[in-house]
């Protein structure tokens, strides 16, 4: 559960709210919303009054760009199940069907959802945006967070209420009522798609969109409010799975031999290379204004490769691609959990469920990239060395 120091109400604008997000698994607090009055008007059959902007928006973006064009922005699409916690509603859906599920959602429309696994990541993106707007007020090179959900539009009002409650800057969304949102993801040049559903993530990956599956975990350690930290596994995430294939087919010795022989051959790119690239572009905007030390974006490579041998090929590849990574951690097969616990990334991408689960056990927010050869194996069987 996200700890109270990250409470978005306290973090932003000083808006006083009587509503505290309870630490139960679903933010089930009925409260004295300033919005509640409007819904009462609605229920009494009175026409809805469009509220003046100043009343509704307590956070202001002074002189900034509200709606960056998708082609200029870094588009991050998140589904409702990873941005918020919706386990209770999921259960209603699974046990009682879609009609009952929608009825339940409408009944609880004024109760905001609690933050989900992608919430800290999204908050950190907004922090970066605030810094970017300060330095480049006219630029559209910002993170554009889009809610993309298979949910039915009935849930739309509750989702919008929740976004308002948490003061998130999300102005674009798709509620597809069940059909695939892949067309929209492509049209909006989505740079990263996060969902709770592995099938949808696989579909996105197949279309060339960086994507990962996120899971709710009970333990989440505190993450930075000031610096976005993104950690990547190497093989089958930033790089292709070619080396993993060698390891799986022929074992560790063959893997090392192959890497040595091919040290000067670049690895092929993996599904998240493009995302690292756009992060780098944004980082350079801070460097250009003399903010290298104070940069609110930091990237990490956390790989089972070893620095002295197989890691060299990874570094050479990154360098050839013109990509910088702030910290590269070569674990030579040691578990990733403890290292990640020190880094505290807002998100960690790995292609192996074994590593994702191990990280989550120690409170790291981890996302699974269902790509490459590792997906054909039972995660539990990968318990040994890794690569």
């Amino acid at each position: 559960m996200v700890t109270m120091s990250l409470d978005p109400v306290q973090l932003m604008s000083g808006q006083v709210s009587e509503l505290k997000v309870a630490s139960s698994s679903n933010g089930n607090s009925r409260g004295l919303w300033e919005e509640k009055e409007e819904f009462d008007r609605e229920h009494l059959g009175l026409p809805a009054k469009p509220k003046p902007v100043t009343e509704r928006r307590t956070r202001k973006v002074e002189g900034g760009v509200f709606f960056p064009k998708p082609e200029n922005a870094v588009t991050i699409a998140v589904s409702s199940r990873v941005l918020f916690r919706t386990e209770r509603e999921q259960k209603v859906f699974e046990q009682k069907g879609v009609e009952e599920y929608l009825r339940y959602q409408i009944e609880h429309e004024n109760e905001p959802f609690a933050p989900g696994p992608a919430f800290p990541f999204v908050k950190a993106l907004e922090t970066v945006n605030a810094r970017l707007r300060d330095l480049y007020p006219q630029s559209e090179e910002l993170f554009d967070i889009v809610l993309v959900t298979y949910n039915h539009a009935h849930v739309g009002i509750r989702l919008i209420n929740t976004i308002n409650h948490h003061n998130l800057f999300i102005e674009r969304f798709c509620m597809t009522g069940g059909s695939s949102p892949i067309g929209y993801l492509k049209a909006w040049q989505t740079n990263l798609y996060l969902s709770a559903d592995a099938d949808k993530v696989r579909e996105a990956l197949a279309e060339g969109i960086a994507a990962a599956t996120m899971f709710m975990s009970e333990k989440i350690t505190e993450v930075s409010e000031y610096q976005l930290r993104v950690a990547f596994d190497g093989d089958a995430v930033l790089f292709s799975d070619e080396s993993e294939r060698i390891f799986k087919a022929h074992g560790l010795d063959k893997f090392f031999e192959h890497e040595r022989e091919n040290e000067d051959t670049l690895l092929d790119h993996g599904p998240l290379k493009g995302f690292l690239e756009v992060l780098g572009k944004l980082q350079k905007k801070f460097y250009a204004k003399g903010q290298r030390l104070d940069c609110p974006i930091r990237t990490y490579l956390v790989t089972a490769r070893s620095a002295a041998s197989s890691g060299i090929r990874a570094l050479k590849t990154l360098r050839a691609w013109g990509l910088e990574i702030d910290e590269a951690l070569f674990l030579a097969g040691a578990p990733k959990g403890p290292m990640l616990e020190k880094i505290r990334p807002h998100i960690f991408f790995d292609d192996q469920m074994f590593h994702v689960e191990g990280a989550a056990e120690m409170g790291t927010i981890a996302a699974h990239v269902p790509y490459g050869i590792a997906q054909n194996h039972n995660p539990k069987q990968n318990a040994s060395v890794g690569k």
Partner: protein
């Protein structure tokens, strides 16, 4: 002048009258064959019919049905009126009324026939009808022509939100009552077996605009299935994925901008 197909008459008090131009249904240009080819709005007509079929399956005594009027303003096609009627029969299209008018007085015809929605491929025609208070929608190649199991209607939300002041233009009242009837039809079905799919797209403004539009439609009894809040992002993708048969805004429906 209108010819009534008596066997297909609907209850005037309860039916939802939709007029479509024959130019839209059968396409322009004369064919040498007995029967016209399928035009742009052909799948739309079939979808309307399917809704009627589903409604009647649920309740054989159902009175809330679409009543389709085929309007011919094209003088060339008017000379071929028997062919229009036989083409309709050939394709099994359930047209309740065939109306023939000139471009000057077709709106009178719409009003006389209590048309609640007018669909045309001609922007001028649609505009004229709107000015006289008839809800209209413009059909073009991006809409209408996709065959689909469901009737797909897309509300353009920027126009759905209404200002408090000023008199309500007649076309807006027409829009309200038409959408209320759609909502009524939806309520005859559950989520999983509905022959109607209703979407909402808002372009200007952010999530608050979309929330307002959702509330407004809900207050009219309309159940929105899919919602897209674009905040000025390109909406071509929405059209090509949702594939609406027609787009409705509060008054003039059409693909503006």
């Amino acid at each position: 002048m209108c010819w009534f197909s008596f066997s297909l008459q609907k209850d005037a008090d309860h039916a939802v009258v939709i007029a479509v131009t024959s130019r839209a249904v059968f396409g322009s240009g004369a064919d040498d064959d007995e029967v016209y080819g399928e035009g742009l709005a052909f799948p739309l007509l079939q979808a309307l019919q399917r809704v009627n079929e589903h409604l009647l399956m649920n309740n054989p005594a159902e009175l809330l049905l679409f009543d389709i009027v085929l309007l011919t303003t094209d003088s060339q096609q008017q000379q071929q009126s028997p062919r229009i009627i036989s083409s309709t029969r050939h394709y099994g299209l359930e047209v309740g009324r065939f109306c023939f008018s000139s471009e000057e007085d077709f709106v009178e015809n719409l009003l006389k026939n209590n048309v609640q929605l007018f669909l045309s491929t001609d922007r001028n025609e649609a505009s004229q009808a709107t000015q006289r208070g008839v809800l209209s929608a413009l059909l073009d190649h991006q809409t209408a022509s996709c065959p689909s199991e469901q009737l797909k209607v897309l509300f353009f939300g920027d126009a759905v939100i209404q200002p408090d002041t000023g008199p309500t233009p007649p076309s807006r009242q027409a829009a309200r009552s038409f959408s209320a009837q759609l909502g009524e039809m939806q309520r005859r079905f559950t989520m999983s077996d509905s022959p109607l799919s209703i979407g909402l797209v808002t372009w200007r403004g952010g999530r608050d605009s979309c929330a307002d539009a959702l509330h407004t439609l809900r207050s009219r009894g309309v159940r929105v299935d899919e919602a897209y809040c674009l905040a000025e992002a390109p909406w071509g993708p929405i059209l090509s994925v949702f594939r609406p048969h027609f787009l409705l805004s509060d008054g003039f429906g059409g693909l503006e901008g």
